[in-house]
């Protein structure tokens, strides 16, 4: 494993953090060089969750790859489905029916809320407060119930199809979603009372590890991590896909409310604000969704014309892009997946210098790194 040469000093202790460690949320590993409590450097070692998903894409047909995309990011699988579908549709130049686009948006936003709930729930847990996690997961369960009634699965949905979606909304789905949103929004205020305005929480995170806008762009950070650094960039707004140009929402940006712009608290707060924006989008989608088809005409065995395409969606952890090369056969020639967690992982080494061990845990949690996205 040891391809990286590490210079050793006499007073340095090397601690192995992970792959099984409570705060790494999955199987991440950090070789941590410390001087007592002080971290000199935390070197991420990836590959513990590698499942060769990109290679599998070359072995199965275009439709058959869809279930594997669930596993790219199993915390918010809808967006992973969506990105792949978009990319292949671009190759095929397929027009997706409006209703399917709205259904995809509803599913995406529900998933984004669920994913951000995990993020903001595990964050306090990494700082020692266990209870908010339980509250967040309780709400996530309700979202899982909703998605289960939509597509029959609770974690790996396989809901989006190339050219549409697999099922239409069941009866009463819209009412149940809006009922959920009605009881969910005040709960977010309670969540704020409990943890976002907690003094210890703010003391711990305010001004911790600020990532400047330039640095964030240089490391290729995307999504909430980039927006927390003050960069207003959201694919849903700036390169709209599906029907995001028909709904109205704001892009929350880090403002350094408890320290500096781009610190750990901003990364937390942007996610909290994004949950509220997603609620707004969902309400509009439920009203605007048109009647009609949910699936365009797509052949059973897809053989796209020779060429390549790249399409990206704004996933819960930022831009998730699928680069698909077709050689006009029934399998893709190459599929490359670009995920947010991978670039977030790369910034940890440079940012970890001089942190406390406790802060390193907070930094990892604030970047919302999800292990399957890193390795794929």
């Amino acid at each position: 494993m040891s391809s990286i040469q590490i210079q050793h000093f006499d007073d340095e202790m090397e601690i192995n953090m992970g792959p099984q460690h409570p705060s790494t949320h999955g199987v991440l590993r950090f070789r941590t060089l410390t001087d007592g409590e002080l971290v000199r450097k935390a070197i991420p070692e990836i590959g513990y969750l590698h499942r060769s998903i990109e290679k599998i894409a070359e072995m199965v047909e275009y439709h058959g790859f869809m279930p594997y995309t669930d596993r790219v990011d199993y915390v918010a699988a809808m967006t992973a489905n969506h990105g792949y579908a978009l990319s292949v549709e671009k190759l095929l130049s397929t027009e997706v029916p409006k209703r399917a686009q709205y259904l995809r948006m509803i599913a995406d936003e529900l998933c984004r809320i669920a994913s951000h709930l995990i993020s903001v729930g595990t964050f306090p847990m990494d700082l020692g407060a266990v209870t908010p996690f339980v509250y967040a997961l309780r709400e996530r369960e309700k979202i899982n119930d909703l998605i289960e009634s939509l597509c029959g699965a609770r974690l790996t949905y396989n809901y989006v199809r190339i050219g549409g979606v697999s099922f239409d909304m069941p009866d009463g789905f819209a009412q149940r979603v809006s009922a959920f949103l009605d009881q969910f929004e005040p709960l977010m205020n309670e969540f704020d009372d409990l943890i976002s305005s907690n003094n210890i929480f703010i003391d711990r995170l305010g001004g911790l590890c600020p990532i400047s806008k330039e640095l964030a762009i240089a490391y290729g950070l995307v999504g909430p991590n980039l927006r927390a650094s003050g960069m207003e960039w959201d694919l849903r707004k700036h390169l709209p896909y599906a029907a995001y140009d028909e709904v109205d929402f704001d892009i929350p940006v880090g403002d350094g409310r408890c320290g500096q712009i781009g610190d750990c608290f901003d990364r937390y707060w942007v996610r909290i604000a994004e949950i509220r924006e997603s609620v707004k989008i969902l309400r509009q989608c439920l009203v605007q969704i048109p009647e009609g088809e949910i699936q365009a005409k797509v052949p059973k065995t897809i053989k796209p014309p020779m060429g390549q395409s790249y399409a990206a969606v704004e996933a819960a952890r930022g831009e998730m892009g699928y680069f698909v090369i077709s050689d006009a056969s029934k399998n893709a020639y190459r599929v490359k997946i670009r995920t947010g967690s991978f670039s977030a992982m790369s910034i940890i080494e440079s940012q970890s210098k001089g942190l406390m061990i406790a802060d390193l845990v907070a930094l990892i949690a604030s970047l919302d790194v999800v292990a399957p996205e890193v390795d794929r």
Partner: protein
């Protein structure tokens, strides 16, 4: 001590008369002959040992066990779930089952560990906790050893914990354990300073280190409680004591030594089975001890805490109600307080089933009834025991409530709090109390 001497004399007399009544050819005669020659001092030592271990075993073990049950129920309520309710009535016997489970688990000692120190470490913790209980006055007549330097003894003995934790962390041959142990050593040694100074304030006021004297000083009800004795100073000292004590027993927000999200499990990472269980018995015993010392030094100890009827109603309603709430309904009561913003702690509030109104009225009635009853019966030793236990458990509950609500501090922030805030504050308070005493004498 007098009771014991009387009991031993009675025992020796009984032994002598029984030996006299034996017939000449009884085979037991030589045996009883030897027993009769045992001097009184030895009997006294034996009886002290027996009674002390009886009291410790019969009080600490159930207290620690019951506390784990309370902790699980409180945590359950705060986290919008139920908590253990299967074994025994409402899950009360869960801790016995847990104990049996822990004892039947493999006792694993990691490779490269210092086996002797590894085995020794939990006993230091247990020893520290149990020895502290020896001079805690649980109630009228219920104290193992009423020594005249009680507070000093408590501070000294409770420091044994840090040796146990250091040994555990060092001998485990695990870097996470070592980090936890180092944190713990720094933390406990630092917080001894404000803790000791905050306990000095009642000692100054009473003029004695004895816990019995502290108790007697507060015998005249609510108004004589030491927390109100020297204006703002004792009041501040009480809170400083409580927060420092939280750091002493490594509970949230100062649970850095066993921070499970940072150090896996800190100093007890490598422990398993009953050795791990001993760490927990010690932790829960120490939690109760915090409450016990706070009660004795600041809040009237086991004395009937009431001088007049309105306060009688208030205090006992509070204790009784809080206790019931804690055990069976979790912190719903506390959550209702927490709905007001700006309360000191960010409070866990969720939509938990609230009390029905008739039930509240019935409880109110019962608590008034029982408090009047208590007032009448307050000379009965069992009542004083109940008063002490309820007050102490109230603090145990507060500690649990904090644990399931707050995140933890970072090492440097924790040290800041100790050395830059609490220690100077306590210097001011000690000075202030001294001036207050001078002024009030005049």
């Amino acid at each position: 001590m007098n009771h014991l001497v009387l009991a031993v004399e009675a025992w020796m007399k009984a032994l002598e008369s029984y030996t006299m009544s034996l017939s000449e050819d009884s085979i037991w005669l030589p045996f009883f002959g030897i027993l009769n020659q045992v001097p009184q001092e030895v009997w006294l030592a034996v009886s002290m040992f027996l009674s002390a271990s009886m009291i410790l075993g019969m009080i600490i073990a159930p207290i620690a066990g019951f506390s784990t049950f309370v902790e699980r129920r409180v945590a359950g309520r705060i986290q919008a779930r139920i908590g253990c309710n299967r074994v025994g009535p409402e899950g009360l016997l869960q801790f016995l089952v847990d104990g049996v489970k822990l004892m039947s688990k493999e006792d694993h000692i990691p490779q490269g560990a210092d086996r002797f120190l590894f085995k020794l470490a939990p006993y230091f913790l247990i020893l520290g906790a149990f020895m502290s209980f020896a001079c805690l006055p649980f109630g009228k007549y219920i104290v193992v050893s009423n020594i005249n330097v009680g507070i000093l003894y408590l501070l000294a003995v409770s420091s044994l914990v840090v040796i146990g934790i250091l040994l555990a962390g060092w001998s485990s041959n695990n870097k996470w354990s070592l980090l936890g142990a180092m944190r713990s050593a720094a933390q406990i040694v630092s917080y001894e300073v404000p803790l000791g100074m905050s306990l000095m304030i009642p000692v100054m006021l009473v003029g004695s280190l004895s816990l019995a004297h502290l108790n007697r000083y507060q015998a005249e009800g609510f108004s004589s409680w030491l927390i109100f004795a020297a204006g703002p100073f004792t009041f501040i000292a009480f809170f400083v004591y409580f927060i420092s004590a939280l750091a002493e027993v490594n509970r949230t927000p100062f649970d850095l030594p066993e921070a499970e999200s940072e150090l896996v499990s800190g100093y007890n990472t490598e422990y398993s089975g009953i050795r791990w269980g001993l760490f927990f018995v010690a932790e829960y015993a120490n939690m109760f001890l915090i409450g016990g010392i706070a009660t004795t030094a600041f809040l009237g100890g086991w004395q009937k805490s009431v001088a007049n009827i309105p306060f009688l109603v208030f205090s006992l309603f509070f204790i009784f109600f809080a206790l019931l709430k804690i055990v069976f309904y979790g912190p719903a009561f506390v959550q209702s307080l927490g709905r007001k913003k700006g309360v000191l702690f960010a409070l866990a509030h969720t939509k938990v089933r609230s009390f029905s109104k008739p039930l509240v009225l019935v409880l109110l009635f019962l608590s008034v009834l029982s408090s009047v009853g208590l007032h009448v019966l307050s000379d009965f030793w069992l009542v004083s025991f109940f008063v002490f236990i309820s007050k102490s458990y109230f603090f145990v509950f507060i500690i649990m409530w904090i644990r399931w609500t707050l995140p933890r501090y970072r090492v440097d922030q924790m040290m800041d709090l100790c050395w830059k805030r609490f220690t100077p504050l306590m210097f001011v308070c000690v000075m202030g109390t001294a001036l207050w005493m001078l002024w009030s004498q005049r």
